[in-house]
Amino acid sequence: MTLTATTAHPRSTTAARIEYTAVSKKFGDTTVLTGLDLTVEPGEFVALLGPSGCGKSTALRILAGFETASSGTLTVDGRDVLRVPAHRRGIGMVSQSYSLFPNLSVADNVSFGLVVRREVKARRVAKLTSLLDLVGLPGYADRFPAQLSGGQQQRVALARALAIEPRVLLLDEPLSALDAKVRSSLREEIRNLQLRLGITMLFVTHDQDEALAMADRVAVMRGGGIEQIDQPGVLYDQPSTDFVARFVGTTNQLAVARGAAIPDLWVPLREGDHDLLYVRPESLMFEEYDRGCAHIVSHVYRGATTRITAKIDGSISRGSSEIKVDVPSASVTELPIGIRVRVRLTGRPALRVEA
């Protein structure tokens, strides 16, 4: 799938607006969604991010029509869809894996929705060609799903879902069964495709890197509700709760005296009321210091930067007992394992909460 492909492709002229209002879902006694409110603008790419079991798939499946909502309303372009059967919603869906029809060739898989709609053959063929080009699989029409790699299967699933020109495309962890390399390239391709087609997309993932890299806005979910929804940068720099601060990106939790000003040099607080500062690894620095409060225990090389972990001396009952700092890999030799350091704040904490 290349951005420079010149073939015509189906452009969604009817990107839809999605609005969940107080949508709840119970399975027996367990409440899985607790009054979900979420608006996705036409052409927007929103990622639902959260730990496993927080209700992401359920939220998506209610929109697709595979689950009913216990209460609340859900509209697409202002029209209530909850009572419309799944096959009349015109909502595309790509799931984790193994969703291609194993008995059908790639061509028949992609054409499935068009055949069901009784589109004329000439149009089907033209669409098939342009869709296979779009997902970077020209010439694969006669293959069967079992002959394709996981990444190729997901591309076909994408083409198949796009064939019916859905008003909305839902993706439920479409990349999580793939290996790292394919995952990151497909990540970009899906995003590019979404931008080109201008289609409204709701994307479920438990992988924060994926969510931050792809989405216009990320909705962090927890226990059946949305904790915060914002652009990736805002989510990272200004998390609204400690859950978001911990779930998105890496943070160090540093205790300071209740209400005290943010210090330049941080020292562990062992008694009294305290606030917790959530500080990103790039907003801290270690300085070699004989009477420092921590000593370096590990280096993890990550390419341009290296993550250095230092353990705070003594027992720590508030905040992290280890502090992680990212430094340019070139300067790592200045902080060898074992040396004693002090901790300097070089940037603003992402969040401060009264503990």
């Binding site: 799944a86 096959h87 799931s95 029809f101 194993p102 008995n103 499935f112 069967f144 799903p145 019916i164």
Partner: protein, 291 residues
């Protein structure tokens, strides 16, 4: 170490012995099946007084009872296969998709015919039908009883045969549905605009073709060979007719039963070939992958 080597030696011995043993077993079973049939065949075409002849076959076909028995059996067979699949395929799909908790219960219910002798089933049916007829001419139960026993369209026999095949059909379809990712396939098809019937026809059936064909075959074989229930309920199906003519023309009855047997084998082979072709995508695809 000693332990390990002894174990591997044992394993090797098994492997050395196995091919010979398994061939012997296969030959034994083949003989067990083939010898009686060959004897019957020899008996049917060799008349001591007249030498080799196909006369018994012609006699059996010429018997005045044959056309009626054949058409009744074929009608029952077709209705049973259609009824069975129409009942069981949607039921099993529903069970897997919507009511997995009911699966054990349905499994037990479907297994009961295996442990109830068919004579008991037939006797029970006779009792019920009789007591329904006992309500008196024109009463609703009597009418239902009559309808079920319509001599031209014996619904009660079709129903019995469906019940008798349930244990095997349940297992076959159950296993078939387990091997595919049913929920994902169904949901994908729905989101592409396919309604329930379309999903069943275009997505589910093609992916459980093997088990469906096996079920149909099993059902056909049963319908062509079942005797107990048919005779107890008083229908002259092919097997019932066969035993009746056996009294007057034993050789003819043997030749006809051989014909039916051959038909069943032919069906089995045809179904196996069909099922082999039906499991296409994966097998064919994998072959293509290797080359």
């Amino acid at each position: 170490m000693v332990h390990v080597s002894r174990k591997t030696r044992a394993a090797r011995d098994v492997r050395v012995v196995a091919p010979g043993l398994s061939w012997a077993l296969i030959i034994l079973v083949a003989l067990y099946i083939a010898v009686p049939m060959l004897c019957a065949f020899a008996f049917s075409i060799y008349v001591p007084t007249a030498g080799f002849t196909f006369e018994p076959y012609l006699e059996s076909v010429r018997d005045p009872g044959f056309p009626g028995a054949l058409s009744l059996t074929l009608l029952i067979t077709v209705l049973t296969v259609v009824g069975l699949l129409a009942l069981m395929v949607p039921t099993m799909v529903y069970l897997h998709l919507r009511a997995p908790r009911w699966r054990p219960i349905i499994e037990i219910v479907c297994t009961i015919p295996l442990v109830v002798p068919s004579i008991a089933l037939a006797a029970g049916l006779v009792t019920v039908l009789r007591s329904m007829a006992g309500f008196g001419r024109g009463s609703l139960p009597a009418q239902v009883s009559q309808l079920l026993q319509n001599p031209d369209l014996p619904v009660v026999l079709v129903g019995s045969y469906i019940v008798l095949t349930l244990p095997f059909v349940f297992r076959s379809l159950d296993a078939g549905l387990r091997t595919i990712d049913l929920r994902t396939l169904v949901e994908s098809a729905h989101s592409l605009g396919a309604s329930g019937a379309t999903v069943l026809r275009r997505v589910i059936l093609p992916n459980i073709k093997g088990p469906v064909i096996f079920s149909a075959f099993f059902c056909i074989a049963l319908c062509l060979g079942e005797f107990t229930v048919a005779v107890t309920l008083g229908y002259r199906t092919l097997p019932v007719w066969l035993t009746q003519i056996a009294g007057s023309n034993f050789r003819a009855s043997i030749s006809m039963s051989l014909l039916i047997n051959a038909l069943t084998w032919a069906l089995l082979i045809a179904m196996t070939v069909l099922a082999g072709r039906a499991a296409p995508a994966r097998a064919r695809a994998l072959k293509g992958h290797e080359s």
